[in-house]
């Protein structure tokens, strides 16, 4: 088992953003998360990565994460990306990746080697010296994934990674996610609204609504679940 969330809850004032949630993510799998806006998906990511305090327990490879600050969770092997790219705008692509390797990685591998490997892996060779602020959206997302990979994670959290991309860019991104999972052996948790993408990509799919679990299981079962159709997919989904 890679990640185990037990009875986790997060409340903002009177709003329960995540409500007594339980689920497990197995090592090596791609685990999809979907649900309507306000379902608590990003809040869940913020809890796992130490951005929010919460009640309950989140354990990663047996180690309790509740109470750890974000930087220590990163160093424990969990990296994430954001829907809107969070990069150091005045730094180049390679320096953004260097920041991940420099601060987030616990490995003794030479930094320069890590940076070169990752730039090649995500396909940003021609942009290595370009400032992050000047990149187009796809390249910003790739640079952010590169910085996350530079921390040498065992679990990667992707928050709506294909939002705003065109069809060919989506195809390119999905290929990269497969390669991260298959070639690097990194477990992936992915939030996405495109159900077709999630059903193709993930081995397990979790549907949330109002912070609660609606359904969890293999995608082909989840997409046929009546509660999921009612609260999220609608009757005429394909």
């Amino acid at each position: 088992m890679s990640l185990k969330c037990s009875h986790i809850s997060k409340q903002f004032g009177r709003l329960k953003a995540v409500d007594t949630l339980n689920f497990e993510v197995q090592t090596g799998e791609i685990f999809g998360i979907a649900g309507p806006n306000g379902a608590g998906k990003t809040t869940l990511f913020n809890m796992i990565t130490g951005m929010y305090t919460y009640s309950g327990s989140i354990a990663f490879d047996g180690r309790e994460l509740n109470g750890l600050p974000a930087y220590r969770i990163c160093r424990a092997g969990i990296a994430r990306t954001f829907q809107i790219p969070q990069l150091f705008a005045s730094l180049s692509v390679s320096d953004n990746i260097r920041a991940g390797a420099h601060f987030g990685s616990r490995r003794n591998k030479p930094e320069a080697e890590t940076i070169e490997e990752i730039i090649d892996f995500v396909g940003l060779g021609e942009h290595r010296d370009h400032k992050a602020a000047h990149l187009k959206l796809l390249d910003k997302k790739l640079a952010m994934i590169g910085a996350a990979l530079a921390t040498h994670p065992r679990l990667l959290l992707l928050d709506e990674p294909i939002a705003g991309l065109n069809p060919s860019e989506i195809t390119q991104s999905l290929e990269l996610f497969y390669r991260i999972n298959q070639e690097l052996g990194i477990t992936i948790l992915i939030i996405e609204h495109f159900m077709k993408v999630l059903t193709e990509l993930s081995q397990q799919l979790l549907i949330l609504e109002n912070g609660k679990k609606v359904c969890l299981g293999p995608p082909h079962e989840v997409t046929r679940d009546q509660r999921v159709i009612e609260c999220y997919l609608g009757e005429d989904h394909d």
Partner: protein, 287 residues
């Protein structure tokens, strides 16, 4: 002509110390987005600590060393005990600004109780003048200028080459992104606050032989550091450097031509002009 150049040299000397202090204020704002209202009081703290260590019979080198170490620890303590607990709250930036204002009032009154209301001074570091190309240069001024430039140069090298300098830049640009790549935000905040306290207090040591130390004397310095950071661009260290020298020279010229009472007026006029013409400052950006 000679008098004008003397005045400009004096302005550059003061500008170098202002630059050092403004860099500290700008650094804290750049990283935490909090304006530190206690900055002037930390300047005064440097003067009073040095005054206390002189009272123990120590010479300048040891006094400076002890004062800087004390300032660093004081900065760490203030951040850890007063600022950090506020960061658990969503509106912590505004709260932190109000708390630093309270801290300034507390410290100034503490100085008044401990050291009394009368001015204190530090001995001159180096007396005498140096004649160079027909100009009489105060050795004290030259030493102050040299120290301030060395401190700033060293600090810039540190920011650009050290691991911690890279972390400071990362947190200043994107706090969330920085944490996510494994940068310990709290440690960066603590270090930034401590270093900025050292820079403010070191300014207090360097200027005390010339302008004396009084319990409420830090407010003028706060205003000056504020105007410098506003003119340079809030959070821009490079902008603060240029603005400090420019305003140091303007201050010296105004004092020479119109008298010392017009100096603060000139600073406020520059602030007003900046806010009207270029509110983001020389090197600042919006957002």
């Amino acid at each position: 002509m000679y008098e004008l150049i003397d005045v400009i040299i004096s302005g550059v000397t003061n500008g170098s110390v202002y630059a050092m202090m403004a860099v500290g204020l700008s650094l804290v704002y750049g990283v935490t987005k909090v304006f530190n209202f206690a900055y002037g009081s930390l300047y005064t703290l440097g003067g009073y600590l040095a005054f206390t260590f002189f009272g123990c019979g120590f010479g300048y080198p040891l006094v400076i060393l002890l004062t800087l170490v004390s300032l660093y620890l004081a900065g760490l303590l203030i951040e850890r005990v007063i600022i950090r607990p506020l960061r658990r709250r969503e509106d912590w930036e505004m709260l932190a600004m109000m708390v630093t204002l309270g801290l300034a009032i507390f410290l100034d009154n503490l100085y008044q109780v401990v050291y009394g209301p009368y001015v204190k001074s530090l001995p001159i570091m180096f007396s005498g003048n140096l004649q160079l190309a027909g100009f009489m240069l105060s050795i004290q001024d030259l030493v102050i200028f040299g120290i301030a430039v060395l401190v700033m140069g060293g600090f810039m090298i540190f920011l650009n080459t050290h691991r911690l300098g890279m972390a400071i830049e990362a947190v200043a640009q994107d706090m969330t992104g920085a944490q996510i790549v494994g940068i310990p935000k709290d440690r960066v905040f603590g270090f930034t606050f401590a270093i900025s306290t050292v820079l403010a207090g070191f300014g207090g040591i360097l200027l005390a032989p010339k302008y004396f130390i009084t319990p409420f004397g830090g407010w003028d310095i706060l205003v000056k550091a504020w105007v410098i950071t506003a003119l340079g661009g809030m959070g821009s260290v490079r902008g603060s450097l240029y603005a400090a020298f420019l305003l140091g020279i303007i201050e010296a010229l105004i004092g020479w031509q119109f008298g010392l009472t017009w100096i603060l007026f000139a600073w406020f006029a520059v602030l007003l002009g900046t806010l009207i013409v270029r509110p983001q400052g020389l090197f600042g950006t919006w957002g």
